[in-house]
């Protein structure tokens, strides 16, 4: 059993280590310009420096808060909206075109409007994050709700479940796998949206760190920013899944997880 765990860990980390080795080699041998691909050591040093000064944690904290707030606003809009649209067909006809339209509009293209409506404070940054993560959650949930088997609907009808019970006992559990995909995607797009969000008048945050480091020509710090985003993305995803696992006893999501 222990041995099995070992090999599993080995397999999991094989590719990252290989990439790291390749990277070290590439910068050691100077296959590419060291300015553009700083050595792992230099990136590590930059990370350490940022960590020591506390700047990294400040950036991380600010961004984390933005991601969390944005993500929960996304959930708060997308989940009720999809249930509403699912149960009230006229809402679907009303909202279809506007939502379809927004689907292909890049959030950062709307920055002028966001500044107009939300100013240059947190609100417009949050709006960017919400716009970036809304559709994965919404469309996946809609997909899950619409692909529910007719059998369960009939059963709910014949058991005289009311709307709330129907949602709780039938609709939501049936749509859950799709919903899970949606929130996983949504959460990643929250992280990804940080760059766009922190283009608007930000003085901290991981997106700001990356943008500012690019402006200042500190590619090593850009790498630090990228790694922090990637790793935090993985961790938050894990935590989220664990949390949902507690809420939903009928499935082992960690095993169920799509991959």
């Amino acid at each position: 059993m222990k041995k099995l765990k070992w090999t599993a860990a080995l397999e999991t980390l094989a590719v990252p280590f290989l990439l790291l080795a390749l990277w070290a080699l590439a910068s050691e041998r100077q296959w590419v310009h060291p300015y553009l691909l700083p050595s792992p050591l230099r990136v590590a040093k930059a990370a350490l420096r940022l960590a020591e000064s506390g700047a990294l944690f400040k950036h991380l904290g600010v961004s984390f808060q933005r991601v969390i707030i944005g993500f929960f606003i996304t959930l708060g809009i997308a989940v009720p909206l999809s249930f509403l649209i699912h149960s009230l067909p006229f809402l679907k006809r009303l909202l279809r075109v506007p939502l379809e339209f927004l689907r292909s509009v890049p959030p950062i293209s709307t920055i002028p409007l966001l500044i107009l409506w939300f100013g240059i404070g947190e609100a417009s940054k949050t709006a960017i994050i919400v716009m970036a993560s809304f559709f994965p959650v919404f469309l996946n949930l809609m997909g899950g709700l619409n692909n529910i088997e007719e059998d369960w609907k009939e059963l709910a009808r014949s058991l005289q479940l009311d709307q709330g019970e129907y949602i709780r006992f039938v609709l939501f559990p049936a749509a859950f796998p799709s919903f899970l995909t949606g929130i996983q995607l949504g959460l990643s797009y929250c992280w990804r949206a940080l760059m766009g969000a922190e283009m608007i008048a930000a003085a901290s945050g991981l997106g700001y760190l990356i943008l500012d480091s690019q402006d200042m020509g500190r590619i090593d710090r850009v790498f630090v920013g990228i790694f922090t985003l990637g790793i935090c993305g993985i961790l938050l995803d894990k935590i989220l899944i664990k949390a949902f696992n507690c809420l939903i006893p009928w499935k082992d999501l960690e095993e169920e997880q799509n991959w």
Binding site: D151, W152, R157, S158, L159, E165, A174, W250
Partner: protein, 251 residues
Amino acid sequence: MVENAPEVIIQDLNRIYKGSDEAVHAVKDISLTLTPGSFTALVGFSGCGKTTLLRMLAGLEEPSSGSISLFPENSYPAVIFQTPRLLPWMTIKKNMNIALRHRVIPRQNKREIKKRVHAALEMVGLNDRADAYPHELSGGMAQRVGLARALCQESGFMLMDEPFSSLDALTRENLQKELKSIWEKKKSTTLFITHDIAEALVLASRILIMKEGSIIADLDRNDWILRNKPEAAIMSLMNNPLIPRMVYATS
């Protein structure tokens, strides 16, 4: 307790499915009255439209034409589907519980719900599996849970679509007895689809024979035609392609 059992009046009922290949006239011009507290069995060849008729009575299928009236109007049937239809994400107990939330008044009465679920599972012999999930049951067990779920609703109107089809002879016999005694106490208006003519004869006081969407015979258990060799008689009725619409019950 006939007060809860509704009268069911079916008039000129038709159901036509527009299938992907051809239209199917599944139920043809059926007019029928189920008296309050009667136990009616419905037999007929596979695909003759029994399930379609039952589903229309359950309000799950819209008639293409014709009408179904219930007196009292607010009667709600307990339904046993032809497949067990247990929600896979809930334990057996939970599957039973949600069926009772609207039946046990006051709703808050958790103890009453628990008692009824227990009793119903006891009856079908599955009390020890109450915490299992549906996929952990055998085919017959799942069917019995479906039966228990319908019975514990204690409705005055029961629609049952081959509830014993996957059960062995003995379990079947026991459950027939249970069902009979429950019906005798409760006197629900019951429509019972079965392929087993002996079962129909044991349980029902009235037997409807359906063929190609129509009711071709409507028999009372005491009809002369069922005096001896009733099974053979019913088989021959089912087989006879010439009978237009024979209503033996009235004769």
